[in-house]
Amino acid sequence: MSVDKATVAKIASLARIAMDDAALERMVPELNGILAWVEQLGEVDCSGVEPMTAVIPNELRLRDDVVDADPLTGGGKRDAVLANAPAAEHGFFGVPKVIE
């Protein structure tokens, strides 16, 4: 499978990366080179093989069902959470207007 400029534009839009025409043109052969190369995986007989989901067998743990079980990742951290925000306003993340 290979991609054309319109497809790359669609992917870029899904990935929320603005790309002008020149950037799209540059990306088309690069992506096609990579896609043509990974195509060889189609040669591998994977019948009866389950896709890997965990590389080292491990059980998912549940944390204690209490508020702030881990104080470091619990609540009450508003200022720390907002400290690196490009536009923090009134204790919230500021974004451009989304509702007219």
Binding site: L14, I17, L31, V44, V49, N58, R63, A83, P86, V95
Partner: protein
């Protein structure tokens, strides 16, 4: 005091504990070496005060007779992928430029608790995506090594290239690295140092900027196997904040080191003998076999039939996970925001990410978005995860015949910066020997073997069974003792 910078982790720790010198003297010597080595561009920011404060704390403890810690008095470099409280953490990207974490990564906190101090944040390939340290927003890192008879700037490898360059240049005795598809082992091989990627889950990923979460694993880089063992003990351990952290005790790897390999079987995978592999790399592999035989091991031929497919599977799985992980960079919560005039929220996302990500990062996010998109998911992503299962099964079957595997770390020695950056695929091939162990989550280490005819280091790789870091370290130690690698780059910086 300049001779202090030629010491490794063990020598510094023992020297401070024994009173041969103070931790402050060590920190001052390395701070000075870092300050003089700007030409390497190994550090994005330096933190001499952090190193001094940690050293003073260790010296104060020694004065009162308290325990100094596994890394007591050792100043290290911290790859700029680990969140460090109050110190800029960028993943070598523009999108995180100026990001100052409010918290400390588990691995870095463990190192500080063990008595280490921080010389600075080390440069790397942007978001750890790269094999040459040419994708950093903050400029290339130069290897301290030069190809004989030339003056071209050489690649320190990647993505942990600031780590490998600083250790080889003796401006840091050790550094943290992270390995997603070879990012500890390949730079270690290029720079003539040692580095181990432990079993997936040994080191907490909490506070490490995520690239491909099912593969990312932190590990130590240093100039000897012993130093790696010491530092890995300090970095590893269960962390409830990482859902994939292994809930297992941390062995005393350093104390148990044993280079006597009698009774051990070392597998040589025939599929790693690939067309186009450098003749000197193959020669170093033969030499490695001879060294391990000399240490008492039996060499056995093994087969890892799906080796050829590991790299293409990796270049679906890792970009897929990256495209998901990097969705968090949106210009809202932290990092860069690019808000064109009259732009709406969606335009702000797209403009921010266009301005904040480098070309290689964009390429991988686009590939990942494509292989996960409706209609292509099964053909690409599911197929790659099945191939990954087969690669892991190859290793499981190999363990019936051997205790560890010996292979080259890389298909070539280091190359000049700028010589491979035209074609992404050629660059990806650097990790052809490293990626299979990553896909299988296995512990794997690179240890220096020799210099090639151009005077550049070559590394050998040891891959072990899950949780058998000890077997990997022991095998690497046997090579280290016989290789006697003591070459160091001539200072030009």
């Amino acid at each position: 005091m300049t001779e202090l910078t030629s010491l490794g982790v063990k020598a510094i720790r023992d020297g401070v504990a024994g009173g041969s010198f103070t931790a402050r003297e060590v920190a001052e010597a390395f701070n000075a070496a870092v300050a003089e080595a700007g030409a390497l561009n190994a550090f994005i920011v330096t933190t001499p005060d952090h190193a001094l404060a940690a050293a003073d704390a260790v010296d104060a403890k020694r004065a009162t007779g308290g325990p100094l810690g596994k890394m007591g008095g050792v100043p290290i470099g911290m790859k700029d992928l680990f969140a460090t409280r109050g110190v800029q953490t960028t993943a070598a990207s523009h999108i995180l430029e100026g990001f100052v974490p409010e918290y400390e990564s588990t691995v870095s906190q463990k190192l500080w608790d063990a008595g280490a101090g921080m010389l600075g944040k080390l440069n790397l390939d942007q978001f750890a995506m790269g094999s040459s340290n040419e994708t950093s927003y903050f400029g290339n890192v130069s290897s301290p090594w030069k190809k004989a008879g030339t003056n071209a700037a050489m690649s320190p490898g990647g993505s942990s290239g600031g780590s490998s360059a600083s250790i080889a240049a003796r401006i840091a005795p050790a550094a943290t690295g992270t390995d997603t598809g070879g990012s500890i082992r390949q730079p270690a091989a290029f720079a003539g140092i040692s580095g181990i990627k432990p079993t997936y889950g040994r080191c907490s990923r909490w506070g490490v900027v995520a690239f491909a979460s099912s593969l990312d694993q932190a590990g130590p880089m240093a100039r000897s196997v012993e130093d790696c063992a010491i530092m890995l003990e300090a970095m590893a351990g269960f962390d409830p904040k990482d859902a994939t952290s292994l809930d297992m005790p941390v062995p005393n790897w350093e104390a148990a080191l044993n280079a006597d390999l009698r009774g051990r079987k070392i597998g040589i995978p025939r599929e790693y003998r690939m067309d186009g592999t450098d003749a000197e790399i193959l020669e170093s592999w033969e030499q490695g076999k001879a060294w391990l035989r000399d240490a008492g091991a039996t060499i056995v031929d093994i087969s890892l039939p799906h080796t050829k497919y590991a790299l293409p599977a990796y270049y679906i799985i890792a970009p897929a996970e990256a495209s998901s992980n990097l969705a968090r960079y949106d210009g809202v919560r932290y990092g860069l925001r690019d808000l064109p005039e009259k732009a709406g929220l969606q335009d702000m996302y797209a403009a921010t990410r266009a301005a904040g990500f480098g070309d290689e990062v964009k390429r991988r996010v686009l590939i990942g978005t494509y292989v996960l998109s409706a209609g292509f998911y099964d053909a690409y992503y599911t197929q790659a995860q099945k191939v990954r299962a087969l690669v892991a099964r190859d290793f499981e079957q190999a363990w019936a015949q051997c205790d560890a595997i010996l292979a080259p770390t890389t298909p070539t020695a280091s190359f000049p910066l700028g010589s491979l950056d035209k074609d992404p695929l050629t660059m990806y091939l650097n990790d052809v020997f490293a990626v299979p162990a990553s896909l299988a989550g296995l512990p794997a280490m690179s240890v220096p073997a020799m210099l090639n005819a151009d005077g550049l280091p070559l590394g050998l790789q040891i891959v072990g069974k899950p949780f058998d870091e000890q077997g990997v370290l022991d095998t690497a130690l046997a090579i280290q003792q016989r290789a006697g690698f003591d070459a160091r780059p001539e200072r030009w910086w």
